[in-house]
Every structure is written in structure tokens, then in C-alpha cells.
């Protein structure tokens, strides 16, 4: 048998109170796409950080092409041919694309040459990118391209990708896969971390499953069903959200020619959005990131005020109302960004629960906070939504992404909303938590609330929506019944591929 490109033997890393990796061993062959599967907290991130030289293992050994590989820092790893695309992009917003790329290279050529190389690589792999643009202005998909091109310019032997598709549209995903396949055919090995099993089945040649820091199995993803892989990953049978048939309810929320200026320089203006939402339905809204999703959520939640009659709820004009006044009427929202928008990172869960639930749960009295009641409410959310944390006195920052997401969604749902608006409910959340969140949204609709779910994850929208609409450049397409929509129809609704060179890679 050939020498593996990378062999991990008995890697162990413990942090105070938790063993992140325990005796992890597996091989990556040259020119294969190897999936690393596992829930949040399974130790995937620690493992790849070890390979990338950010974390030193307590025990165990790595071999790269048969030679001992102990990178002291990421530079050493890069020099040895290991490159990594991070899940939360390691980009610098205030700098342009070429500068960001130069920062990820060992001996970068002058800016002008980088610009030329970027153009060349982006043509080669169908990843259009302008090297002079400021990264802060780019969409999530474009930012990922910056990271990928940064890696590709170093001609890596092993490319590590940490949940690369969580923020991409289907078109962007197919382009990414085409790029990765081209790379594999050119001999680059790829370590692909994800919990989207269908993607792994479509893309990967081998898979290693981690659970609680240990390797619990390996499989050939092309020959294993998604369900079997999921159960291997979770360690128990997986719950699939159940969609009940619901009668059509009364109209509860109406948007009439809702328009709003872009709230900041990099924002999108909302243009003439007409929409009616009924009790007991889940309305899914798709679209490429940066087409007005954040602004629509803000206009609905009250962060952006509009003319009063642009937004009607149960026959009342509410476009001018502030968030707390809307909460009183039962219009609740959970924005996309968990840290810093949905939750204040350094405040406790009790304080975070108080921040949005104060009106509907009566958590103050004569201007004084009723702490015991607030604590009880936070505890109820933690219990009701299986948030894994020692208790409500812990800060929001101490929770993993999936747990915090369960908390911020649970916090709104347990206030019994009449209309619930949620943006990217399962972004960066592991499979079992995502299933629980989707089920909670469906249950909410079953109880007669209207749910507006904005997401980049079309599989998710198809799974839970009754009707589907798409945002494109701040305009909303007319909603259509979700049942029976084909991928092509959805693509058309999303307004094509948005500056993507689909033709280049489809052949």
C-alpha cells in the first residue's frame, strides 16, 4: 500500500475538564477527499487545529509523507503544504482581498503580482473575485472564495476545510464542489469537515466519524446511507422533523410595499415587498446572503422603522413601532448573528433571557428587575430546549454555537409568539440540534403561530416550509407552495447564480 499523505497515530489533547481528542488515529491518502464527521463538541476543531499547528497534542504523533510532522505554528504547517479554510473566516474586514491573501502566504510577492495570480486562479477554478475589493463589503460566499484562493496560491498538499458550505447557496455549493474535485484530480488531498451528510456522500471518498473526541468508525460515504452515518455520529437514532398537515389560518401579518433604505454602507435597500402571512404556516424565504435578509428581519423586528401602514398585524399598523411594542403584540424575532446581536456575549443567560422576554413575561416590576422570575424563565428555556450548560448564571459566550442557538430560539418560542421571524436558525449548528430547532419551529406553527424562516439552507427550507419565496436585491418574489418545487425553479426564483460562472464548471 502507498504511504499515506498524513497519518495520525494516537493523538490526544486534553483541556481542563474535557478531553477534546482521545487516541485519534486515521490516514489520509494523497488525492482523496476525506470527510471528518462529528457533532459540535466532538473534537473536530481541536483535531484540525492540531494538524494546522495551532494546538500541540499531549500525546500521539503525526506523519506527513512518512516523515514526522510536528508543526510548531501555522507557518510551519503551511510550509509543509497544509492549508486551512476556517469555519469562521479568518479575514480582515478593513483590508482588500489582495492584502488578506498576502497575510496568509509565507513569502508573498508584491501586491500587483498577487492581484494577477488571484485573477488567474479564480478563472481556473471558476471563483470570480476582484482583488481590489474591501473584504468587509463581500458576501459570505465571496469571503469564502478569498480564503480558498489564499490557500490555493500556496499549492497545498493537504487542504483542510472546516464546514465550508454552511453559508453557501446551492449554486455556490456546486461550484465549490467542482473546485474541490478539480483540486483532488490535481493530486491535492482534502480533509472536509461537515455534518451535512448528503454533501459528504456526494463529494467524499472516505469518512472518519468522531464522537466525544474518539474515532467511532470509518466508512465509505458513497456506500453508506446518510441515516447510518448520522446515527454513527450521534450515537443514537436521529429524530427527523415531522411536518403535520395544518388547515389554512387567517391572515395575521401583511407587508404592503414595504421599502426601507439600506441601514449602512454595505447593506441592501428593501424594495416594495408585498407579503401576507397566515396563522399556522411556515413561510420560508431563501436567497443569496446579502440580498436583504438582515434588513427584512430588522424591518419586521422593529430595528428598522418604516411608514406605519407598510406593516400590518391583525389589522393594526405597526410599521412605526419599536421592538418592545411589537413584542407586546406578539411579533418576535431571532436575528442571524448569535454573538452580539441575538445575545450579549458577556452577559449571563438570565440577563440575556431578560433582554427580550422582559415585556411578555413580566420580568420587571416598577422599574426593578424581578431576578428570580428571570432566572426561572432562563432555566425553563434551558430545560425546554435541551441547552447544554451548567446553568443560567453562565455567560452566553461560554456556550457552543449550537447550544446558544437553541437558547436564543427557545427564548423567543417560549414567549408564545403570534408571529415568529427567524434568520438562519441552524447556521453552524450540528445535526441533532438543527433537527430539534426545526421541530420546534414546526410545533410553533402547529400551535397556530405564523413562522417566517429566512435561511440560506434550501434543504432546511424545503423540509419545513409551507410556502417559499426568495429575496433578490432587496425584492421578494411571490411566494409559491413549497411542495413540488424543483431545484431549477428555486434557482430561477433566487434570480440565477449571482455573478457566478456556472457555465464554466458545469461541463
Amino acid at each position: 500500500m502507498n504511504i499515506p499523505l498524513l497519518r495520525l497515530t494516537g493523538l490526544t489533547k486534553a483541556y481542563p475538564g474535557v478531553v477534546a481528542n482521545k487516541d485519534v488515529s486515521f490516514d489520509i491518502q494523497p488525492g482523496e477527499i476525506h470527510a471528518l464527521l462529528g457533532e459540535n463538541g466532538a473534537g473536530k476543531s481541536t483535531l484540525v487545529k492540531t494538524i494546522y499547528g495551532l494546538v500541540k497534542p499531549d500525546a500521539g504523533q503525526m506523519q506527513l509523507k512518512g516523515a514526522v510532522f510536528e508543526p510548531a505554528d501555522p507557518r510551519a504547517a503551511r510550509a509543509a503544504g497544509v492549508a486551512m479554510v476556517f469555519q469562521h473566516f479568518s479575514l480582515f474586514d478593513a483590508m482588500n482581498v489582495a492584502e488578506n491573501i498576502a497575510l496568509g502566504m509565507e513569502n508573498p510577492p508584491p501586491q500587483r503580482e498577487i492581484a494577477a495570480q488571484v485573477r488567474q486562479v479564480s478563472d481556473q477554478y471558476g471563483l470570480p473575485l476582484d482583488p481590489t475589493r474591501i473584504v468587509g463589503e463581500l458576501s459570505a460566499g465571496e469571503r469564502q472564495r478569498v480564503e480558498i484562493i489564499r490557500c490555493l496560491l500556496q499549492d497545498p498538499k493537504l487542504l483542510i476545510m472546516d464546514e465550508p458550505t454552511s453559508v453557501l447557496t446551492p449554486q455556490e455549493v456546486s461550484i465549490l464542489f467542482e473546485t474541490l474535485r478539480k483540486l483532488r484530480d490535481a493530486g491535492t488531498a482534502i480533509l472536509y469537515i461537515s455534518h451535512k451528510l448528503e454533501e459528504i456522500r456526494a463529494l467524499c471518498d472516505a469518512a472518519t466519524v468522531l464522537r466525544l473526541g474518539q474515532v467511532v468508525g470509518t466508512c465509505d460515504p458513497r456506500a453508506t446511507s446518510a441515516r447510518d452515518m448520522a446515527e454513527l455520529m450521534v450515537g443514537s437514532s436521529l429524530h427527523v422533523p415531522h411536518k403535520a398537515v395544518r388547515p389554512e389560518g387567517e391572515v395575521i401579518l401583511t407587508l404592503q410595499k414595504l421599502s426601507a433604505k439600506a441601514p449602512h454602507r454595505f447593506g441592501t435597500a428593501l424594495r416594495d415587498i408585498d407579503l401576507t402571512v397566515r396563522r399556522g404556516e411556515v413561510l420560508g424565504i431563501g436567497g443569496v446572503a446579502g440580498n436583504g435578509q438582515d434588513e427584512l428581519v430588522a424591518a419586521l423586528s422593529g430595528e428598522i422603522r418604516t411608514r406605519r401602514d407598510m406593516l400590518m398585524m391583525q389589522g393594526k399598523s405597526i410599521g412605526h413601532l419599536a421592538p418592545n411594542a411589537r413584542r407586546r403584540l406578539g411579533l418576535l424575532a431571532a436575528p442571524e448573528e448569535r454573538m452580539g446581536h441575538a445575545a450579549a456575549p458577556d452577559m449571563t443567560l438570565t440577563e440575556n433571557a431578560l433582554l427580550t422576554a422582559v415585556t411578555r413575561q413580566g420580568l420587571t416590576s416598577r422599574g426593578f428587575v424581578r431576578w428570580s422570575k428571570a432566572r426561572d424563565y432562563a432555566s425553563a428555556v434551558i430545560k425546554g430546549f435541551d441547552v447544554r450548560t451548567p446553568g443560567p448564571a453562565n455567560t452566553a459566550r461560554s456556550l457552543s454555537g449550537g447550544n446558544l442557538q437553541k437558547f436564543v430560539i427557545g427564548r423567543e418560542i417560549m414567549q408564545n409568539p403570534v408571529v415568529f421571524v427567524v434568520n438562519q436558525p441552524t447556521w453552524g449548528v450540528d445535526a441533532s440540534a438543527a433537527a430539534a430547532i426545526r421541530q420546534a419551529l414546526l410545533d410553533l406553527a402547529d400551535q397556530g403561530a405564523a413562522v417566517i424562516c429566512i435561511s440560506q439552507d434550501l434543504d432546511e427550507l424545503m423540509e419545513i416550509s409551507d410556502r417559499f419565496a426568495a429575496l433578490n436585491g432587496g425584492r421578494l418574489s411571490a411566494p409559491r407552495p413549497a411542495q413540488g418545487l424543483s431545484v431549477e425553479q428555486i434557482g430561477m426564483m433566487l434570480g440565477g447564480a449571482h455573478d457566478m460562472e456556472v457555465a464554466d464548471v458545469e461541463g
Binding site: 487545529k49 499547528g53 495551532l54 494546538v55 505554528d73 501555522p74 507557518r75 504547517a77 503551511r78 476556517f86 473566516f89 479568518s90 479575514l91 480582515f92 474586514d93 478593513a94 483590508m95 492584502e99 498576502a102 497575510l103 496568509g104 508573498p108
Partner: protein, 304 residues
């Protein structure tokens, strides 16, 4: 009142001299802040630099060694701040304020035996040929070397931040320290170096006050110049050339109001003394456009 006594050429020339201390202190702080550190101890580092420079100049008789000593003294004081905030992770605002108070006290203590002594003179260095030009010559090219040094540091810093690899890394560290760390850059090392550069520049600025502007040691010789330097960095949107403009504006109005006082303008002196501060802040606020470095003032701890 006799405004004709004000000579515009002399006014412009003395503007450059008046602006130099703040200019030096501010460019140092600009580099520190671009690396993501907020050091509010500029005033303390300036006055420590001033007293160190003065002592070295008196004991060696050379003002140039004095300036070198001032830079060293400022950098050492800044290193205390660096170790406290970067290694021991103390709060930057509190530590910076403490550094100012500490520096003021330390300078008063060190300078006790030097009150009333006159500093060795700093010779002017007219640039050959250029200084003979009419108008421009006396305004721009007949100064002491430290004035030229100040402008050179501005130009060098601007080029460093914009074009050099090290400057790019420094900005990266200030913009997003987590990402810079993830890419394998040494956040704390970069910041410590920037902090020491900032201290050295503040020391030079302080010494310029003690050796050229006043030329003798008096307690509290900096008189708030460090705070003005801090303000100018923010209002200049963290850009070196704008900072030069801000410092000259401040220096210009300072010199002008002194001239107006001498000419006997019928305005209370307090208003005239206020004018430089008001004018500088007003103009720079109107021009303000940039945003602060993304990680400014946050402690970095490589925990993951």
C-alpha cells in the same frame, strides 16, 4: 492692537516648531493603536522622556544624546505598560491612566535637582540650497534636525503601514487579532514592539519640549500635550498624513493666538488660549471619516 507686527513667515516657521512635540507623540500612538492597543499613558511617557532627555543632555553636554536618552526612557516606561497589558492582561484604559500618573510623579522626582538649569542649545540645521529659497526657505528648511525627523517619521510610518509586509501584519493584528493568531502571527510580540515604538516617539516629543521649546526643566512641562496627541490620532482617523495636518493646525493656532496676545487683541486671554484646542477638534471632527482598528483596546489571550 497692531496686527502688522505679526510676520506671516515667522508665524509659519514657528508653527512647525510648535507642532513637533505633539506630532512625534501622536505618530507613536498612531502605530500603537493601529496594532490594536490603546495606550492612554502618552502624557506620562512624554514627560518621562522629557526629564530623561534633560538629565542625559546636561550630564553629557550633548542634546543629541539627550534625545536618544529620551527615546529610551519613553520606550522603557511603555514596556511596563506593555508587560502589564499584553502579558498580564490588565485593563488597557486603567493601566494607561495609571502610566500617566506614574510618569508625572517619576519625572518630578527625577527632575528635582535640575530645576532652573539651562539645557545645552540645539543648533539649527538649515538645509543647503533649499533654505535659500524665498518664503519657502525660512518656513520649511531652517529648522533643527528634530523637526525634519518628525516629518520623516510621518512619511516613513505612512509608507511602512501602506507598503511593507511588517506594516501589513501590524494592521492585521490591530484589525482582528484572533484571525492574525490563527494565521500564525505573534500578536503579543507585534504589540509589544509597537508599544515600545510609541513610547520612544512620545519620549522624543517630550524631550523636544524640555530641550528646545522651553529649554529648561520645569515640572509639568508637557502641560497636556500628550492628551492632545491622543485626540489628534482619533480625529485623524488613524492616518499619518492627516495626523500631520492636525498637529500643524494645532501648532498654527497656538502660535497665532500667542501672536494675537502679544499684539494686544481685545479678547480675554482665556479665550485665546482655548482657541487651539477648539479649532483642532472642530476641523478634525468635520473631516472625520475612518473607523477604528477592529481590535482596538481589547486584550488578546491565545486560549484556544
Amino acid at each position: 492692537m497692531d496686527l502688522s507686527s505679526i510676520n506671516p513667515i515667522l508665524l509659519l516657521a514657528s508653527l512647525m516648531v510648535a507642532a513637533t512635540p505633539i506630532l512625534l507623540a501622536a505618530i507613536g500612538e498612531l502605530v500603537v493603536e493601529r496594532a490594536g492597543v490603546l495606550n492612554l499613558g502618552v502624557e506620562g511617557m512624554m514627560i518621562t522622556g522629557a526629564v530623561c532627555g534633560f538629565i542625559v543632555a546636561i550630564s553629557t553636554g550633548s542634546p543629541w544624546l539627550g534625545f536618544a536618552g529620551a527615546a529610551l526612557g519613553g520606550a522603557l516606561l511603555a514596556l511596563i505598560f506593555g508587560v502589564l497589558t499584553q502579558v498580564l492582561l490588565s485593563n488597557q484604559v486603567a493601566t494607561g491612566l495609571a502610566l500617566t500618573l506614574f510618569g508625572l510623579g517619576l519625572a518630578a522626582l527625577l527632575g528635582q535637582g535640575y530645576v532652573g538649569i539651562k539645557a545645552p542649545p540645539v543648533a539649527k540645521f538649515p538645509i543647503p540650497l533649499l533654505s535659500d529659497l524665498p518664503v519657502i526657505g525660512p518656513v520649511l528648511f531652517r529648522h533643527d534636525p528634530i523637526v525634519y525627523l518628525g516629518i520623516t517619521i510621518i512619511a516613513a510610518t505612512s509608507a511602512f503601514l501602506r507598503y511593507s509586509r511588517a506594516g501589513l501584519i501590524l494592521r492585521a493584528v490591530g484589525e482582528n487579532h484572533e484571525a492574525a493568531h490563527a494565521l500564525g502571527y505573534h500578536v503579543i510580540r507585534v504589540r509589544l514592539l509597537a508599544i515600545m515604538f510609541g513610547g520612544a516617539c512620545a519620549g522624543l516629543g517630550g524631550a523636544y519640549l524640555g530641550l528646545v521649546r522651553v529649554p529648561q526643566w520645569t515640572e509639568g512641562v508637557t502641560a497636556g500635550a500628550g492628551w492632545i496627541a491622543l485626540a489628534i490620532v482619533v480625529f485623524a482617523s488613524w492616518r499619518p498624513w492627516r495626523l500631520l495636518l492636525g498637529a500643524y493646525l494645532f501648532g498654527g493656532v497656538t502660535v497665532l493666538q500667542l501672536n494675537l496676545q502679544a499684539a494686544g487683541v481685545a479678547l480675554p486671554v482665556s479665550y485665546l488660549s482655548m482657541a487651539p484646542y477648539l479649532a483642532t477638534i472642530l476641523v478634525l471632527v468635520m473631516m472625520r471619516s475612518g473607523r477604528a482598528p477592529g481590535s482596538l483596546g481589547q486584550s488578546f489571550h491565545a486560549s484556544r
